[in-house]
């Protein structure tokens, strides 16, 4: 499977995330001869356990995440980042969980966007989209809880993530061998962005995959873990901002 880097936008000190970034980034891709190819989407769901005795809540991990990926439609991935667990299962597990009423969705995030082809590179840009009928603008933090929010009532809260980006280099699947290539590609993209004076940069999710039992050869589990890390990072950023 081709190596993929999952990126998030890190604004410079003092500036906040702006939804303008998405448009600018997309235009940059097109300026380096990217060709819009099709749609893609991903779903991230934070689960909380349904317990009879609420006091036990603390025993259960808070970052239990379920992810569905566009290029693996028949699979579903679970990650508990704090315990370094990643699991691949069949997508029917969601139905089973519903029937068992064991876990409930706490926050559901839907990303939708386009994918672009630039020669042997593939870029995906996914914006947070409305769930149900809400006009969702992003993910917010309130207290220690995550919410997806609509434009109207939660505007005073900090938007922490409005889009997720990923870059794939199709010919090879070794993370080690593709590192330099991906770094330079990011540089090229940044150079193009720099011309538009955007305050910030894209950051890759770097982590020790070995802790999750994952190797050098790239797999969808790597992606799932990366998405979880992006979320964790976002939360940490907001917490830092709030002091």
């Amino acid at each position: 499977m081709p190596v993929k880097w999952v990126l998030y936008w890190q604004p410079n000190q003092g500036s906040t995330v702006s939804s303008q970034i998405l448009n600018e980034a997309t235009q940059c891709v097109e300026s380096i001869n990217g060709v819009k190819e099709g749609r893609w989407k991903a779903t991230l769901i934070y689960y909380k356990p349904m317990l009879r005795d609420q006091a036990n809540q603390a025993e259960f991990p808070r970052d239990f995440l379920g992810i569905s990926l566009a290029d693996q439609p028949s699979k579903y991935y679970f990650i508990i980042r704090s315990q370094r667990i990643v699991l691949e299962s069949d997508s029917s597990i969601q139905l089973i969980m519903e029937k068992l009423q064991s876990y409930k969705s706490k926050v559901a995030l839907y990303f939708e966007g386009f994918q672009y082809q630039l020669g042997d590179f593939r870029l995906r840009v996914g914006k947070v989209v409305p769930t149900h009928s809400e006009n969702v603008r992003g993910i917010v933090m309130e207290g220690m809880e995550l919410f997806a929010f609509g434009a109207d009532s939660y505007s005073h809260l900090v938007v922490i993530l409005d889009a997720i980006y990923d870059v794939e280099y199709l010919p090879i699947s070794s993370m080690e061998k593709s590192r330099k290539v991906m770094e330079e590609f990011l540089e090229i993209w940044h150079e193009a962005l720099f011309k538009r004076s955007l305050p910030g940069k894209f950051v890759n999710t770097e982590l020790n995959f070995g802790e999750f039992g994952l190797g050098d050869s790239y797999t969808p589990q790597h992606t799932a873990v990366r998405y979880a890390l992006v979320m964790a990072h976002m939360i940490a950023t907001v917490q830092a901002v709030r002091g």
């Binding site: 001869n33 020669g119 042997d120 199709l170 010919p171 080690e176 330099k180 290539v181 090229i188």
Partner: protein, 404 residues
């Protein structure tokens, strides 16, 4: 259906006429011969019709209704048939005498370059005069066409293979590689006059230990290519056993008979590339094609004349074709073209790590294809036979000094 006049004449005058015809100019002879052939054709047609009528008469005679008519018919046809046959034999004699049925006239010098029409044994008439003229025209245009084709070919050769021009010397790129090259002359082993493939490959793998070298017969390679798939392409399946595995101990003896059939050499650097070289004829040391693929690619299109689905390997394959032509045409002074090619292929181990020697970057936008690519070019003109293949310089297609 008239009997010919000539048949009425006495034999003498017929002979006289023949003698006269010998004195005629060749064009007249040819014209006369053509005439007589036409006459002969007409008589033959008459004979055919006569034969039909005789058969008809016989048929009618078999029906006892008509009493006298069939006999009359029969007698009439009989007479006319005999006449026809006589005519034909006369014409035949004349044709024979004028050399149409034989080739006697050809040996005559005084024929003005024209030949009598010749009746071939299978009945075809060859009118030489006309044929010669047409043939002459065709010949002239063939010469022209050949001349044009040669010119077009020379132009193409000059354009795509500039280094194969005769009499043109190549400038050395810089002093350094030359120096290192000559230094290594001492350490370099003597080029073997004739080495076997296993020897060559073991020499190679000592030089580039990270590259896996395997050989296959053509059919076995096809099996292997089809069994390679995206996940876990590195494992060779039972279905396709390579004839020579780099770490195999079964080299001597057993391999001697099998080496004859080696037609494909596979060079693979895990996670970087897989290169396929084909040998033609199988069992020889002559490479005729090379192609590069992703290590994750698999399928029956994976062969020395196939193309990868990824741009980077597609471009390398194109570049490799030029390098192959260079090795076949020039060689690098030591080692066979095959060895040079294999060594050059191994220099691509650094495909995703070695930046371009000109611009210092790994990725660059290739102007021609509007794609972002790593340095795909590796210098092949002065192939260092150093232990460390890193000496081989890498360039982007646009940065390459070869670019013209």
């Amino acid at each position: 259906m008239q009997p010919l006049h000539q048949s009425q004449l006495p034999q003498n005058s017929a002979e006289a006429e023949n003698n006269q015809s010998e004195l005629d100019a060749p064009p007249k002879q040819v014209a006369q011969a053509m005439d007589r052939l036409n006459q002969a054709a007409r008589v033959i047609a008459d004979i055919r019709l006569g034969a039909d009528r005789i058969l008809e008469a016989l048929f009618v005679a078999s029906h006892p209704r008509h009493t006298d008519m069939p006999l009359q018919l029969f007698l009439r046809e009989d007479t006319s048939m005999r006449q026809h046959l006589q005519d034909l034999s006369l014409i035949g004699k004349k044709l024979e005498e004028s050399g149409v049925l034989t080739e006697s006239l050809r040996s005559r010098s005084n024929s003005w370059g024209l030949h009598m029409p010749l009746v071939c044994p299978d009945g075809a008439v060859v009118a030489y005069a006309w044929k010669r003229q047409l043939a002459g025209q065709a010949g002239a245009s063939a010469v022209d066409r050949t001349r044009l084709a040669l010119k077009a070919f020379t132009d193409q050769k000059r354009r795509f293979f500039p280094h194969i021009d005769d009499g043109l010397k190549m400038e050395p790129r810089s002093k350094k590689p030359r120096a290192s090259h000559s230094l290594l002359q001492h350490d370099r082993e003597e080029p073997v006059g004739y080495e076997t493939l296993p020897d060559m490959l073991s020499r190679l793998e000592k030089l580039v230990p990270n590259v896996k070298v395997s050989t296959y017969g053509r059919l076995n390679w096809l099996k292997r290519a089809s069994s390679l798939h995206v996940s876990g392409g590195e494992d060779s399946t039972e279905a396709s056993k390579p004839i020579f595995q780099s770490s195999s101990k079964l080299r001597s003896g057993l391999q001697a008979e099998v080496v004859d059939k080696v037609a494909v050499i596979e060079l693979s650097v895990p996670s970087v590339f897989r290169a396929v070289v084909s040998l033609n004829p199988a069992g020889s040391l002559d490479p005729d094609a090379v192609a590069f693929f992703s290590p994750d690619e698999g399928g029956s299109y994976l062969h020395a004349r196939g193309l990868s689905v990824y741009h980077v390997y597609k471009h390398i394959t194109e570049h490799a074709a030029t390098a192959l032509q260079y090795f076949l045409g020039f060689g690098t002074g030591s080692g066979t073209p095959l060895y040079s090619l294999l060594l050059w292929i191994c220099s691509f181990e650094s495909l995703f790590s070695k930046p371009c020697s000109k611009c210092g970057r790994l990725l660059a936008m290739d102007k021609k294809s509007a794609l972002i690519l790593p340095p795909l070019h590796r210098a092949y003109q002065e192939l260092p036979l150093a232990v460390n293949m890193d000496v081989c310089e890498a360039y982007h297609a646009g940065c390459s000094p070869d670019e013209s």
